[in-house]
Point group: C2
Chain length 294, copies 2
């Protein structure tokens, strides 16, 4: 199977799992379920669920049903996008080429839709069928820390907001990206590893992989915001500069930023050596993250 | 010990547990932890944690550490208050006699503080020490469903918002209150019962108790909004009528509403019969919920 066929197949698996775990649009109260589904099924690439599922298969001691655990990463990612786009935060009207949640459903419902996706993520993990309760708790711990305020996604969002008024230093940049995008991508890989029954050694190797691609993802994101148009990105381009965000190109320049992304890609590859051919798809996923154009 | 001494002691236990589970104000990024703590430690009565701890003791097979599970109910309750008070929702500037979170920290930080408390609740439950993982998962399931979109708190909030434009019928009122306030109060009692190792029969009895006091709580809340001043309530009085909310007095009138609260109190008492003297505090808590003045 070609890599693009593989990606399409994996997206379909993630979409199917999401459709199963989120209440239908006919479920009362209908508005909230419509709002949740509007942003969930808006053409997301499902990067986090796919990383989770593939990390799980690479370990491979338990695979069945991992798509439902993987789906919870997309619930968290989507909640963060809905809240990020709100007028009080990034005030963005466009996401994946469509009007953002609050533009369609109003601010009140967008706030509640984000809250709902966040809540549902933990419900789904707690209710995972056929999975040992200790593993379910480990997954919930992993996801909540990755999304949280100390070293997780919310820490990154807060630092990002506060960074708009601060001096763009390498240290500050590192603290922002590591939490904002890095924590959930790292968590995606680690949740897959935990689901798959990873040994300590395997978990450590996959954590290194997750951190490297998390960093690479953010560097490339910052570069694309400069080099691509809004049409190509499906979201507003050039926002980082307009909002005085601390980005890799601002701190290191474009060329050095590109070299750093390549370094992280090499690190991701070398972290996978112990898995041999079983990690072929994880290698391709790392390549895709660095060489993407949107 | 008098009941008021008992209440003060229980509030102190809940406060101590909250202080332990929430990162300190010095934890980076400081702003978010300050915002979380501002609303958490704003003089809340800790009704939900106290109900949880007391239901646990009434069952009594396991009690140690229940205050940390109980604290997660206050995390959820506080997140819902912060988001409810936002300009896009109830647009309230006053809560427990103090400026609301977004007035002090800005809307962006208030949205993130709510998200943070919600996320932290599940982290705390997943990490509960010395508790069987199956019980931790059961608590997470209970809390996420009670806070969720189908029969939980968010369902109630959505119905409440949409009810402002709808005909005030008994059926609609029931659907709102059962979810909006009822689900989390019911969940508080049930989480305590689950922590305490309840049998099916004990869990069923305490569920009936939780539903009765949940309903009574909301009826009294609606009555107080009419009969008390803003100073007495510590929040804006008379808002229900101003916002055309569907309330018990609107649907049933004041006198019938008071009779209904008394009926639910009687139901709460009779549900506790099997526990005898062990449920003395739960009976007093039910009395207090109905006979409170704020």
């Amino acid at each position: 199977m070609s890599f693009s066929q593989y990606l399409a197949e994996q997206q379909a698996i993630a979409d199917g799992a999401l459709d199963r775990v989120v209440p239908g649009e006919a479920q009362s109260p209908e508005t909230i379920h419509k709002a949740m589904r509007y942003s969930l099924f808006a053409g997301g690439k499902r990067v986090r669920p796919i990383l989770c599922m593939e990390a799980c298969r690479t370990v491979g001691r338990r695979v069945e049903g991992v798509e439902f655990a993987a789906a919870t990463l997309e619930l968290i990612h989507t909640y963060s996008l809905i809240h990020d786009d709100l007028p009080a935060l990034d005030n963005d009207d466009l996401r994946r080429g469509r009007p953002t949640n609050h533009v369609v459903f109003g601010e009140a419902m967008a706030i509640l839709a984000g809250d709902s996706l966040l809540t549902l993520a933990f419900q789904v993990l707690a209710q995972l069928k056929g999975l040992d309760a200790a593993v379910r708790c480990a997954l919930i711990e992993e996801l909540s820390v990755a999304a949280g305020t100390v070293e997780g996604m919310i820490a990154g969002q807060v630092r990002d907001i506060e960074g708009e008024k601060a001096e763009p230093t390498a240290e500050r940049l590192d603290a922002i990206h590591r939490a904002k995008t890095g924590a959930l991508l790292r968590g995606s890989v680690r949740m897959g590893a935990l689901y798959g029954g990873a040994t300590d050694e395997e978990l450590a190797a996959l954590t290194t992989y997750g951190e490297a691609i998390g960093l690479a993802f953010q560097i490339v994101d910052d570069i694309l915001d400069i080099e691509q148009s809004s049409e190509q990105l499906g979201k507003t381009a050039g926002k980082d500069a307009a909002q005085h965000k601390i980005t890799f190109p601002v701190v290191y320049g474009l060329e050095r930023s590109k070299a750093m992304a390549a370094e992280q890609l090499a690190k991701a590859h070398s972290s996978l050596e112990m898995f041999g051919e079983r990690a072929a798809r994880l290698r391709q996923l790392a390549d895709k993250i660095v060489h993407r154009d949107a």
